[in-house]
Amino acid sequence: MLFQQITNGLTIGMIYALIALGYTMVYGILKIVNFAHGDIYMIGSFLGLFFLKELQVPLFVAFIFSAVVTALLGITIERAAYRPLRKADRIVPLISALGVSTFLISVAQLIWGTEMRPFPTSFGSKTYVVGSVTISEIQILILVLSCLLMVGLHLFVKKTKIGTAMRATSINLTNAALLGINTNRMISLAFAIGSALAACAGIMVGIYYNAVYPTMGYMAGINAFTAAVLGGIGSIPGAMLGGVLLGLVEALAGAYISTQYKSVISFAILIIVLLIRPSGILGKKEINKV
């Protein structure tokens, strides 16, 4: 039972972590919360479904196509909804984000309807039994692919020139610009990577629950944002840690305390952590009020 819950918790935690990375990377540079990020995740999921069902491409191709298109969507959203407001008061991009969120949900409803849609793939339902744990193919995919994506992201930001420039931009935009870094390009890149990761998460969740629907980004977004804050918003390892912790807490609380109270328990933990460490577990700087 315990190991089963840990497995389930890790599965959902990885998803939270992937989505949380998008919140944290954008916040790290622009100090804004992209409240449309949950809906970008939803669009990524629908796009995966579209490529898989309408274009009949193999699953891994659907992942790549959806990640690319969703990345372009993220870049476009930044250009259209946030960049013109760069110098505006901080409440303004927040309102813009809510506008984008509503827009994306409406577009999804127009194209795909309001109903919940199944995810038509034969992949994922097969299960394996390891000791006392039953693990499905899709859970294995979520655990493995998420780990690969996160290790890849970590190596990218730590080891490559562009990744280092992205970190520099996140530490101080002006000082990065004075080094010759095109900071607008770094911002686009942060949106692109965050959106692509969210798209991958969206497809995997679609398969895991065999359901895709226009408002699916709402709760996922809130949970992932919570994970980002828990780990320390702006911190990439923080988002990973926060996501996994939140997933584990939810699963264990759901199993041993009550499924109805699992969200309450996660938020209680968030509040306790923030009381002890206001900048989150791995966050460094003081958090500016959103």
Binding site: K161, A168, T174, K284
Partner: protein, 243 residues
């Protein structure tokens, strides 16, 4: 403005405003190829705003800034670095959470000649041997003087033709200031033109060829450094800031 053939930097009638505040009021100045030019003035006189404008950080300013004869007034900051102007900003601007080596490598961000970058890295460690000992250390954990050295070395990694220095002596012990100024002179000897902003007028004028004195957004005196040191206004500015 006098026409000057070998001027690497020419500023004409530059004005910078922040909403209601007019921080720079139509100043003109130039830096000739190979010169060290000091821009001195008390706190709030508009020196930093001037340097930020040269680096392209203010977009709603007026006037013209030319570098090697080309108008760079409207260029984005990263393009200005690529054109050959690097700035060591006020307060050093080291990226605290990155290592010394990462900071230095980012200094060469605009360059592609990998081999020469490695060579330049070595010469930075010769210029400031302390940086070599601290390669893997996070920049934010170093002393103020070491951070200033890092900031200068990092700016040089872009191989600039013109270096803008904003108060490199700020908050540093006299012995470190001396070390920094020796390095500045050496950098200049190696062919880099320098625009040096300072409140420490004495130090700045002993290193500079020429100087400008700024007061509340305007240039009030301009002369060769030697004359400025005996100028009454400069004496008062200098006295005004030292004890």
């Amino acid at each position: 403005m006098m026409s000057n053939q070998q001027a690497i930097l020419e500023i004409e009638q530059l004005s910078v405003s922040y909403d209601a505040i007019k921080a720079v009021k139509g100043i003109s100045l130039h830096v000739k190829q190979g010169e060290i030019v000091a821009l001195i003035g008390t706190n709030g006189s508009g020196k930093t705003s001037t340097l930020q404008s040269i680096s392209g950080l203010h977009k709603n300013n007026q006037g013209t800034i030319r570098f090697e004869g080309k108008d760079i007034t409207k260029l984005e900051p990263h393009k200005i670095v690529a054109a050959g102007i690097s700035q060591v900003p006020e307060g050093r601007g080291v990226l605290a959470d990155l290592t010394v080596l990462e900071n230095l490598s980012l200094g060469a961000y605009v360059r592609k000649d990998k081999k020469n970058i490695a060579l330049d890295l070595q010469s930075m460690f010769e210029l400031f041997p302390r940086l070599a000992e601290r390669k893997k250390q996070l920049a934010g954990t170093m002393s103020g003087g070491e951070q200033q050295m890092l900031a200068i070395a990092r700016a040089l990694m872009a191989r600039p033709k013109l270096l803008l220095l904003d108060e490199p002596s700020m908050g540093l012990a006299p012995i470190i200031v001396k070390e920094i100024f020796q390095a500045i002179k050496k950098i200049n000897k190696d062919g880099v033109s320098i625009l040096l902003v300072e409140q420490n007028a004495n130090m700045a004028l002993s290193a500079a060829d020429r100087g400008y004195v700024m007061e509340t957004g305007s240039i009030v005196v301009e002369d060769v450094a030697e004359n400025l040191r005996s100028n009454d206004i400069v004496k008062s500015v200098y006295l005004g800031i030292s004890n």
